[in-house]
């Protein structure tokens, strides 16, 4: 295969207006997910720098790479970071972290900052799992449900489809609206079977956009069943990589009957933001 259509763009970011040397607390959160890894650096609880990249086959390396890339060009060194919390699937494999906290707690905490304290239901659509989380006004988890056994409704499933249809994964959402009429959702739950179903539809002459529309709505429905089981309390927000896929998000908001909140922050760093906030709280506690 000459092009890897599933491959999304990796990037780093920093706030040029912050002089980190003035900061009282410098903390970091590293989220080593099954598909992507993020490192977030915060100065006094404000987002200072972050990176977002693909998780490699080795968790400690992925954590280190993400951290190094977030630090790149900031003049800050690893030793300047006073407290690091690891989270995500590979959270115990963050060698430079003082503590590991579950991604569920971190998404609730991060969501609270990203979307404001009115958020009560967070749907985290990750690379290999999907979680519906209820939280209170302080970002504390009150209940959650997750699917981590099946690729249906996860980012990995979407990557498989991007590859199958040779459409860059970041363009799937927009393209899925390029249809005259909304098709029936793909009927197979299993991604393996859905792939065969999609191949058959292409053979029948369906354009790629229509197949993607059918898959996006199947995916929206799949995650909706998880949300339905736990219940959707206002306000509602979506985190994780799939939150960037309008094809899934718009179809999901139709099913839920509620528009998700939007944020100026990158939805993929919610877990790492939460971890960095936990790190700040732990650092302050240790200084008392």
């Amino acid at each position: 295969m000459s092009q890897e259509y599933w491959r999304w763009k990796e990037y780093n970011w920093r706030d040029e207006n912050i002089d980190w040397k003035e900061a009282n607390t410098i903390t970091a959160g590293v989220d080593v997910g099954s598909v992507s890894s993020q490192a977030v650096i915060m100065t006094d609880g404000k987002l200072f720098a972050y990176s977002n990249m693909r998780t490699g086959s080795d968790s400690p390396d992925s954590a280190r790479n993400a951290m190094n890339w977030a630090l790149e060009g900031t003049g800050m060194k690893q030793e300047d970071v006073q407290y690091v919390v690891g989270t995500g699937y590979g959270r115990v494999n963050v060698p430079f972290a003082q503590k590991a906290i579950t991604e569920i707690a971190c998404h609730a905490r991060g969501g609270n900052m990203m979307y404001g304290n009115t958020v009560r239901t967070i749907l985290d659509m990750g690379g290999q799992d999907c979680k519906a989380i209820h939280c209170d006004e302080r970002g504390k988890v009150t209940n959650f449900l997750m699917n981590d056994k099946c690729a249906a409704g996860t980012g990995r499933g979407m990557e498989v489809f991007a590859d199958l249809l040779a459409v860059p994964v970041e363009e799937v959402g927009e393209l899925s609206f390029d249809v005259d009429e909304e098709p029936e959702p793909v009927s197979s739950t299993c991604v393996v079977f859905a792939k065969s179903e999609a191949t058959a539809l292409l053979r029948q002459g369906w354009p790629k956009s229509k197949v993607l529309a059918a898959y996006c709505s199947a995916m929206a429905h799949r995650v909706f069943t998880l949300l339905e089981r736990i219940g959707v309390e206002k306000d509602f927000a979506i985190t994780g990589g799939i939150a960037k896929n309008v094809g899934v998000v718009r179809r999901l908001e139709k099913e839920v009957g509620m528009k998700p909140l939007t944020s100026k922050y990158d939805t993929q760093i919610a877990g790492a933001i939460g971890a960095a906030l936990f790190a700040k709280a732990l650092l302050e506690k240790s200084r008392k």
């Binding site: 690729a151 990995r156 299993c190 053979r203």
Partner: protein, 256 residues
């Protein structure tokens, strides 16, 4: 009396023609994208082998996921019904039938006449079906038909954490990177499907004898994993992929 059974499976379409209780012809073709054409082709092939023409067949019964595509069939029987009928005909002592096809796994309890007492099906998920081995064979770059033999060479049981075929693919790739011997990975794949199937069989309840049918029963590696999981010997027919079509041909004689 000449009857035929056709099993329009997810991967292969099979036909069995019987004359006075004896199988006189069999055929197998890929189902492909046009199941209707595959059904016609399979029937033509079997008729040719038996030296018969369509009008010589008194009754045709269809089974399998694409059974409605066999437009020439007089009636249909469920996949569970045909698997039970075919198996108990071949092995009169069989009471539990495990049928593992390309895209479905079934556990069936039947009585001595081949009537179904209870059953469970997994049709929603590729884990626990032939599609799982196929996907893993691709990831391992091992031809599907070599998977069984290779698995028998394994000396180490490597656990597989993922159930989902998509996640298992990534796990297989990680195992390859970790320099795990291929035969151990292949065995882990078979152990994983076997464990899925076994839990389904246990839900239905195990009554001896136990028979294993369906195309995946040709995979010796999977058979070994199943035996170890069930801690039982299993009856396996010579042509396990034809059991559904055979059951349908028997039903055709009864329904005539």
């Amino acid at each position: 009396m000449i009857t035929a059974g056709i099993d329009c499976g997810a991967k292969n379409t099979k036909v069995v023609i019987r004359k006075d209780g004896e199988v006189i012809a069999k055929s197998l073709v890929l189902s492909g994208f046009d199941q209707k054409a595959a059904a016609e082709e399979a029937l033509e092939m079997a008729l040719k082998e038996a030296n018969l023409s369509k009008k010589d067949i008194e009754h045709v019964t269809a089974t399998g996921v694409g059974m409605k595509q066999a437009s020439f069939a007089n009636d249909t029987i469920t996949e569970v019904g045909s698997a039970a009928k075919g198996t108990v005909f071949l092995f009169p002592s069989a009471r539990t039938v495990i049928d593992v096809g390309a895209e479905e796994g079934r556990a069936i309890r039947a009585d001595g006449t081949g009537k179904v007492i209870d059953f469970a099906i997994n049709e929603k998920c590729a884990a626990g079906s032939g599609a799982f081995t196929e996907a893993m064979a691709r990831a391992l770059e091992v031809p599907l038909e070599k998977m069984g033999e290779l698995s028998l060479k394994s000396q180490n049981a490597v656990p597989m954490n993922a159930q989902c075929a998509i996640f298992a693919e990534s796990e297989v790739v990680s195992l390859i990177h970790a320099k795990t011997p291929k035969e151990d990975i292949v065995r882990a794949v078979h152990d994983a499907i076997a464990s899925r199937i076994t839990s389904m069989v246990r839900r239905v309840g195990i009554e001896r004898e136990v028979a294993l049918v369906g195309g995946v029963a040709r995979n010796v590696g999977f058979v070994k994993s199943m035996k170890e999981d069930l801690e039982l010997e299993m009856l396996i027919p010579e042509d396990p992929e034809f059991v559904g079509a055979l059951g349908a041909a028997i039903a055709a004689a009864e329904n005539r």
